[in-house]
């Protein structure tokens, strides 16, 4: 406890942080937990004049072995010390064991005050909570899913969190904002020199897109594998030239939970109606033509949109260019059917995607940097025609929240939400107008994940709201007899049914920053007043 008690949250943290209002009217700190930040201004202009990060040269001679006996030995060889930063990737998702093992080993070695800069943290990682309480890890440079966020929101964990998008995380590492001292890369298939891939082995998860940045920029890189194969592990996803050490362990995690998302088209009639309308919006926007590029998430409604789009592409004889982001079996089918030329895969969402990844030459692995980093001379999302996004709340300015739930708890990481919204020509949010008796559209969202400046259309089962800057699209939708409504009207209609939700009472204590993809602070998450 001693190491972390110095920056314990509570009353003090709000008052010692100089707060400013960002362009969305959110009060954000310029200094928080010892680091300085800029307030968010707009989605397009921030461009710090700095060099891209670097790492030390390492000479490796032919007789030197990289294979180590244990995680402990790797931690020692990385020269990990108090206050340093470690990272893992989240491709094993809720089956991940590595982050837990790593943090627990650090605890056993008496390390303190470490920062976790993994690409995400999942509910399974709640195992590390005791190591937060005892000061082994005291800062979190990544968004979190599940219990850790809930406890932080209740003020029961002192674990300052900076939530970042996929592109924003890659940017933070490249730009040197979050220097990683040692990256521990779960490697489903690896050889003794550190060539590794995610396509083979008992923990196969497909693309390793989130780990590439760590492999290129961390001071030390450790490949941890449960499937050590004779040289060379091939195909090579992350290469021997980037890896310092290799640690074989029994198991990287629970393979049943690695590909856990059930990716199935929704059967809910309201969800299907939303999907139908969303597909019609894409067509009305003139995007369904040869070369169409597309991204959806793995939710049931998103997949239903993909299904509608697929049918329409077939009918019209359209050949798309690429699908990207997290890849599902639906996109694999579209690739194999010739509806897309290429899949750019940062993360496989289901088993079918994993299998395709090992089989289809045009199913390409891309890094989170290439996928979505705004500061790298051009990322893939900039080429996207359309992205389908979810929301827990949307407000009258089209700002979207996906981080906090209706109880105010920080429960979800951002993913590629704000990256794809900014990159795509048409960012469509699909959501039921009412969820759990609460209206989706609010006067003002609890937390801004994605600024309304980058969100184009909201589709609910009660109507379609088009951002005011797209008058032509709104007219075209009306011409096609789609139920276009002003967002205020949708808001009034749904709150007439649900009543106005009581505001969530928050304390002043900031438990997390929401960092926009460009590194500026778009919002904060405060402790909930219980």
């Amino acid at each position: 406890m001693d190491a972390s008690s110095g920056n314990r949250g509570g009353e003090g943290s709000a008052s010692d942080a100089p707060m400013v209002k960002n362009s969305l009217g959110r009060m954000v700190p310029t200094l928080w937990k010892g680091k300085s930040y800029e307030p968010y201004r707009d989605p397009w202009s921030r461009a710090p004049a700095v060099d891209r990060g670097t790492r030390p040269l390492v000479r490796r001679n032919p007789w030197e072995s990289k294979v180590l006996k244990s995680l402990r030995e790797a931690i020692e060889r990385c020269d990990l010390r108090d206050g340093m930063t470690i990272s893992t990737h989240h491709h094993l998702r809720n089956g991940d064991r590595l982050l837990n093992l790593l943090v627990q080993e650090c605890e056993a070695m008496g390390l303190k005050n470490l920062t976790v800069a993994s690409s995400s943290v999942h509910p399974v990682n709640a195992e590390i909570i005791p190591c937060i309480r005892n000061g082994t890890i005291t800062r979190c440079e990544t968004g979190v899913n599940g219990l850790i966020g809930e406890l932080a929101s209740k003020g029961e964990l002192d674990f300052p969190i900076v939530v970042r998008s996929h592109g924003g995380r890659a940017r933070s590492i490249l730009a040197g904002d979050v220097p990683v001292d040692a990256a521990f890369i779960a490697a489903p298939c690896c050889d003794e020199t550190g060539n590794l891939n995610g396509a083979q082995g008992p923990s196969a998860c497909g693309s390793l897109g989130y780990a590439h940045t760590d492999a290129r920029y961390a001071r030390k890189v450790v490949a941890v594998t449960d499937h050590l194969v004779p040289y060379p592990a091939s195909p090579v996803s992350i290469s021997q030239s980037d890896v310092d050490f290799v640690v074989p362990i029994d198991s990287l995690g629970d393979s049943q939970k690695i590909v856990s998302t059930t990716t199935r088209v929704t059967r809910d009639p309201a969800g299907l109606l939303i999907a139908k309308h969303a597909a019609e919006v894409i067509e009305a926007a003139g995007l369904l033509r040869n070369g169409f590029s597309f991204q959806t998430g793995s939710g049931g409604t998103s997949l239903a949109v993909a299904e509608n789009v697929r049918n329409r592409m077939r009918e019209l004889g359209i050949k798309g260019s690429f699908g990207c982001g997290g890849i599902t079996g639906y996109f694999v089918d579209m690739l194999e059917e010739g509806l897309f030329h290429t899949l750019f895969d940062v993360q496989c969402f289901d088993l079918k995607a994993v299998q395709s990844f090992g089989r289809n030459i045009m199913h390409r692995e891309i890094s989170a940097d290439l996928y979505a980093n705004p500061f790298n001379r051009g990322c893939v999302v900039n080429q996207l025609d359309c992205v389908i996004l979810g929301a827990t709340e949307v407000d009258l300015d089209f700002n979207v929240n996906v981080n906090t739930e209706s109880n105010g708890y920080l429960l979800h990481n951002t993913g590629g939400h704000c990256d794809t919204a900014a990159g795509a020509r048409l960012a469509i949010v699909v959501a039921p107008s009412i969820r759990g008796r609460l209206p989706i559209i609010r006067d003002s969202v609890t937390t801004v994940t994605t600024p309304g400046e980058t969100v184009d259309v909201i589709v609910t089962e009660r109507g379609i709201a088009v951002a005011p800057r797209h008058q032509e699209l709104a007219k075209e939708l009306a011409r096609r007899r789609l139920p276009v409504k002003e967002i205020r009207q949708l808001h009034e209609e749904t709150t007439a049914l649900t009543g106005k939700p009581r505001p969530i009472p928050f304390t002043d204590n900031i438990i997390a920053l929401i960092e926009y993809r460009d590194g500026s602070i778009i919002d904060v998450v405060r402790q909930v007043q219980e």
């Binding site: 059967r267 009639p269 299907l272 109606l273």
Partner: protein
């Protein structure tokens, strides 16, 4: 059969009549959302005996709070021979549904009884007499035998509905997806309806996941003369509408007919020849129905004039 009711009452599109269980708030709340031509809030079979009171109150409150209506709302009450029917009517009618779907309309007298009750309610509620419509449901062997009389039992009737599940039960036979066992009953119901100037609404197709089966059955009943179908799930609306969607050449032809009859009316006649084919009242009525359907599908924009369709008195 234009009777004393405003024109269009019986010509209104009723391709898709969606059942919504009266005891489920989450589903009632979505009534304005789906594009069915009409809904039937069910107080009968979908509602367990223990929830009859609650469903009735919920449905009535829902109707009262529902703002602008973009579709017809019928309520399927419990059979008039049950102890629930009177309470159903007493609570529901003040909330002004568009009409009542009457189950087990086996005899003319059942409809007449309901007609009387509705008239009483209209007097109490100070509504014009004839405000509430009736859709009798033919759902037994005796109902099929009597449907011709039933169809003519009240001027409130806008359509006859067929209830195939109860019908096959009354015959002690299986209902198949091919529906050969329903052929005679369906035909008779269409006769009865058409003879009385009514629409005919076919039974539900229960297998929600069998889209092709629903399409086949809808095409079959459309061919027999049915004008719509009862539905159990909003997911079925699109398929049914698609089957009832007029073809472009039908629309073009109907537009020509309307132009021709308009000229005829201007010349003071109700009959005219269009490229060697005679255009008269039945042809015009059918053309009007096609155009009305096409407008509902958003396929054309067209304003139908009763004067052109029916002529001036």
């Amino acid at each position: 059969m234009n009777g004393s009711y405003p024109l269009g009452r019986r010509d209104r599109l009723r391709r898709s009549m969606l059942y919504v269980p009266g005891n489920m708030p989450a589903m009632l709340q979505n009534i304005p959302v789906f594009e069915a031509d009409g809904v039937m809030i069910d107080l009968e079979d979908a509602v367990p005996l223990g929830e009859k009171d609650a469903a009735r109150t919920l449905a009535a409150n829902f109707l009262q709070t529902l703002g602008g209506r973009d579709k017809e709302i019928f309520v399927r009450i419990n059979g008039l021979d049950t102890k629930y029917a009177r309470d159903d009517l007493r609570e529901i009618l003040p909330a002004r549904p568009d009409g009542i779907r009457l189950p087990k309309a086996d005899h003319r007298e059942v409809v007449e009884k309901l007609d009387t009750l509705l008239t009483e309610a209209e007097e109490n509620l100070k509504l014009p007499i004839g405000w509430f419509k009736i859709i009798p449901s033919i759902e037994s062997a005796i109902g099929v035998l009597n449907c011709i009389e039933v169809a003519q039992a009240s001027d409130r009737i806008v359509a006859l509905a067929f209830g195939a599940e109860d019908y096959t039960a009354s015959l002690e036979i299986e209902r198949t997806k091919e529906g050969t066992e329903l052929f005679n009953a369906r035909t008779r119901i269409v006769w009865a309806a058409k003879a009385a100037g009514l629409q005919a609404i076919d039974s539900v197709f229960s297998d929600v996941n069998d889209v092709e089966g629903l399409r086949r059955e809808t095409m079959l009943v459309k061919g027999l003369g049915f004008t719509g179908k009862s539905l159990v799930n909003p997911r079925q609306i699109e398929t049914v509408h698609d089957v009832f969607r007029p073809r472009q050449e039908e629309i073009d032809n109907a537009l020509e007919i309307m132009e021709a009859i308009k000229k005829a009316r201007e010349m003071g006649t109700g009959v005219i020849s269009l490229r060697g084919r005679m255009v008269d009242a039945p042809v015009v009525k059918r053309a009007a129905r096609i155009l009305r359907t096409a407008v509902a599908f958003g396929m054309i924009e067209y304003e139908l004039s009763d004067e052109v369709i029916h002529g001036r008195e």
